[in-house]
Amino acid sequence: MSVPLEHDYIGLSEASSMERSSDKISSSSSSSTLSTEEEKNNVLNLKETELRLGLPGSESPERKAGFGVSLYGTDSIGPLKNFGSGAKRGFSDAINGSSDKWVFSANGGSEVDLGKGTVLFSPRGGNGGLEKNNTQQCNLPGVPPSKHVEKQTSPANEHASAPAAKAQVVGWPPIRSFRKNTMATNVSKNSDTVEGNSGSGCLYVKVSMDGAPYLRKVDLKNYYNYAELSSALEKMFSCFTLGQCTSGLPGREGLTESRLMDLLHGSEYVQTYEDKDGDWMLVGDVPW
């Protein structure tokens, strides 16, 4: 995979949750090849309700300095504040850390301003810009106390989306991370089966890659951490990037540089459909 030069965008519904249809997802904007580098950041911009993967140091006008972000919500990605700029350790910590330090599900790593019903984020594993290094004390796993959080909420308040926002307190309710993470996955899968309805209980998001003739949908529930998600996306879009690879690819038989192949069936043609946002989507990503 080539080194990414621009951001990639994954669209997320503003009010997606386990019960709401995962198809109500806002369209993603154009994007480039997916970054395969370690340093990635997930920043949530409330206005566009999009998940951006950006390079460290990259800035966007709406972003505020200071925090890294981690995704919030076990089975729902609620409205999120935009807190971070690009240079955050949040994602890399999640990548570099153990695979079960995955921040995707709420593991107490989010902050709340109690009573205001707003949501804040802090990096799960690292401190990024959140705390200065203090040799006297250990670095917190990115969890400032509620008092500290209050200072930060006011400037960000205007980004809060009130109705669907959830109050979230560090380490509350008191459930071990393992249990939280496991049950989040279980619940979504179970309700999937129970309902027989593939839409509910999954978190399908659209992924678009700039230059690709169609978009893909991916169920975020299937992945435990950023590493898995990124490799899955890589595989998904690898057929499109062959032509851009700088060096030859020994071992990839049957795939030439200039042809797009349907990896499953080996034919040159794939089935697509146009969804309500006007995007061309590959048939088959969302189970029947």
Partner: protein, 655 residues
């Protein structure tokens, strides 16, 4: 020495005989004690043995009596005094034999305080040491006092580290302990660690330094990976137990399981349920086949139903089973074979796992559920009717853990889950422990999960209930009062109303009376976790009534310093106090000065304590470890997190 079949024999001299004759029959049994029959009887007595021994030592003139002997003025100083040389009427072998039957570390601690002789007898005979906080004592001191240890239980980080309130790299590293153990206890067999930092290097050190090592249990630990497991599997020739529960570890793949050598047959306990990677099923099956003593097997969710069936066929002797995934499309052949396999497991009393279980395959369990005493459904995410059907087949159930999920958004949700609990109440009269977890703890838009009526239903049917951990979204004072009326024997009452500071949903009042009822009615209460909207009144009640309370967890509660002061002043047996987000300040903190040394630990975070308060505390109580963890962004004067450990060490050494 004259042997009696239990009755008094005066063989130590007249004084002793006279003294003995005055005693009750329990004492008389002791005096003929070298007889194996009477030793068996002693064992049956259990804890009262200690009282009897003490009684003898105080009342008989021949036994050293700390009250009367000049050199042992008080038990604390007896260790420093010169050796007590008057002979005990108890031959050493007798005392040793009695002590060898004594397993409770609390009893042993009491024995060691009687006098120097008994202190020595006890310390030489102790084979298992329990250290409730790894910073309360150094490994060197442990090694010096107990020369013959085979088994160590160590607990490290404060419990709130489970909820990410403790900074990473805080400490509690096992490695310094291992270095001492390698020298002092080369025949160490067992390590049971909870909330300790354990690295792969440490695991390799264990595997290679202790040739007799048998048993490793890691609960809620962190810092290692499956590479460390490889070392254990490869090198521990006599391993009987590998028990991994809810650790924060790097799962780099399931290859570790294949590292058990082909001639390795000693495994009795294998629990890798919390790992996510695939293991080689062939290796697992072969391992299960050749380890004939295997009694506990808890696999992870990558193991399918068909694979489970094959394992059960190999190990019908299992006593505890954790299944893998319990979900797939219904296939009659698989169903029948699985049911038959379960039917052959006549000794099964604990069942867990059941990942993603659904109604299709649950019935295969019915053949084996009559004997079940512990059912852990917390990862099964059953619907209420599935739960009801299952527990209807488990009349012997003593312990039940489960998680509630919602079925659909449109249903009236707050009674569906309660129905499952009603079924528990009617089907499981022997139930002693209930833990109800929320399956979706953060989705507050949806009001679901159990309510108070489920809890009340269980309490009506299960009068023996003594341990409860209950997460709910609504509770009322009246319901809790009813519950404890039905079940007055609670020893552990942990109620988590999930919205912080939520009042009684019926009356809108604080939940003070609920916990008041708990502490007034449940006189045996040892552990209490409170929640909901609580004023100082709750803590007044706790301080006044909860005289056996040892552990108290408080969050988002209280109105003023008075609350904490009441608890510290009133709960004489308090050992662990953990507080977060409460309005307790320096006055409260400092009111407990006399108390802290007898407590294992105190945790306060996001309260109103300042650095000055901590400094004062540390100055007044130099034997306490007082640790302040500050968050960088906060005020310099604020002490964000405080941890106090009563310790023999002068400072907690950062490992």
């Amino acid at each position: 020495m004259a042997m009696g079949k239990g009755y008094a024999r005066a063989y130590y001299g007249t004084e002793h005989a006279t003294a003995v004759q005055r005693k009750s029959s329990a004492h008389l049994l002791i005096s003929g004690v070298s007889n194996a029959y009477t030793l068996e009887v002693l064992r049956v007595f259990g804890n009262p043995i200690l009282q009897v021994l003490k009684g003898l030592s105080f009342e008989s003139a021949m036994v050293p009596d700390p009250k009367r002997c000049n050199s042992c003025k008080d038990s604390a100083s007896s260790r420093d005094s010169p050796e007590w040389t008057r002979p005990s009427p108890f031959p050493d072998e007798v005392l040793d034999r009695v002590l060898s039957l004594m397993e409770s570390h609390k009893d042993r601690s009491s024995v060691s305080l009687v006098c120097k002789d008994w202190y020595n007898a006890e310390r030489w005979s102790r084979s298992h040491v329990f250290i409730g906080n790894c910073y309360s004592v150094s490994p060197e001191i442990v090694a010096r006092r107990f020369p013959n240890i085979r088994s160590v239980t160590l607990k490290g980080k404060p419990r709130f580290s489970d909820f990410n309130l403790v900074p990473q790299n805080w400490g509690a590293d096992i490695c310094s302990w291992l270095a001492v153990f390698a020298a002092a206890y080369p025949f160490l067999e067992e390590l049971r660690l909870k909330r300790m930092a354990v690295s792969d290097e440490s695991l390799e050190f264990i595997a290679t330094s202790f040739p007799c090592f048998k048993s490793l249990s890691l609960l809620s630990c962190d810092g290692f990976s499956t590479d460390g497991l490889k070392s254990m599997a490869s090198h521990c020739k006599n391993l009987t137990e590998l028990d991994l529960q809810e650790n924060v570890m790097d799962d780099l793949g399931g290859g570790w399981l294949s590292c058990f050598p082909e001639n390795f047959v000693t495994l009795e306990v294998l629990n890798f349920a919390s790992l996510n990677s695939d293991v080689s099923f062939d290796a697992l099956e072969a391992l299960v086949t050749r380890c004939k003593s295997l009694r506990v097997l808890k696999v992870n969710k990558t193991i399918t139903l068909e694979q489970l069936q094959r394992l059960l066929v190999r190990a019908p002797q299992l006593v505890e089973l954790g299944t893998g995934s319990f979900q797939q499309d219904l296939m009659p052949r698989v169903y029948a074979e699985l049911e038959s396999a379960f039917n052959n497991c006549k000794n099964l009393h604990t069942l867990s796992g059941l990942w993603e279980a659904n109604f299709l395959y649950l019935p295969v369990l019915y053949v084996a559920s009559a004997g079940l005493t512990f059912l852990n459904l917390s990862y099964a995410c059953l619907r209420s009717n599935e739960l009801a059907n299952l527990v209807a087949h488990c009349p012997s159930l003593r312990r039940l853990w489960f998680a509630v999920i919602i079925v659909s958004k449109t249903e009236v949700l707050d009674t569906v889950e309660d129905k499952g609990l009603e079924a528990v109440g009617s089907s499981c009269p022997l139930l002693e422990e209930l833990r109800v977890f929320p399956a979706d703890p953060f989705d507050q838009d949806i009001v679901h999960g159990v309510t108070e009526s489920g809890f009340v239903a269980v309490s009506r049917g299960c009068r023996r209930l003594h341990y409860v951990l209950y997460f709910c979204r609504q509770m009322s004072n009246a319901a809790v009062a009813t519950i404890v009326q039905n079940c007055p024997d609670f020893t552990h009452f942990r109620l988590c109303i999930m919205n912080p500071g939520q009042p009684d949903y019926l009356t809108n009042e604080p939940m003070d009376e609920a916990f008041g009822a708990v502490v007034k009615t449940c006189t045996k209460l040892q552990r209490l976790a409170v929640s909901g909207l609580l004023t100082d009144l709750t803590f007044e009640y706790i301080g006044k009534y909860a005289k056996n309370l040892e552990t108290l967890s408080v969050a988002f509660a209280g109105s003023s310093d008075l609350g904490m002061q009441c608890v510290l002043g009133g709960c004489t047996k308090l050992r662990k106090l953990e507080i977060r987000d409460c309005p307790f300040g320096n006055a409260a903190l400092l009111s407990g000065l006399e108390k802290y040394e007898s407590m294992r630990s105190l945790w306060m975070s996001a309260c109103n304590v300042t650095m000055n308060g901590c400094r004062l505390l540390a100055k007044e109580m130099p034997r306490l470890n007082v640790e302040v963890m500050k968050d960088d962004e906060s005020d310099d004067s604020q002490a964000d997190k405080i941890l106090k450990i009563a310790s023999l060490e002068t400072a907690r050494k950062q490992m």
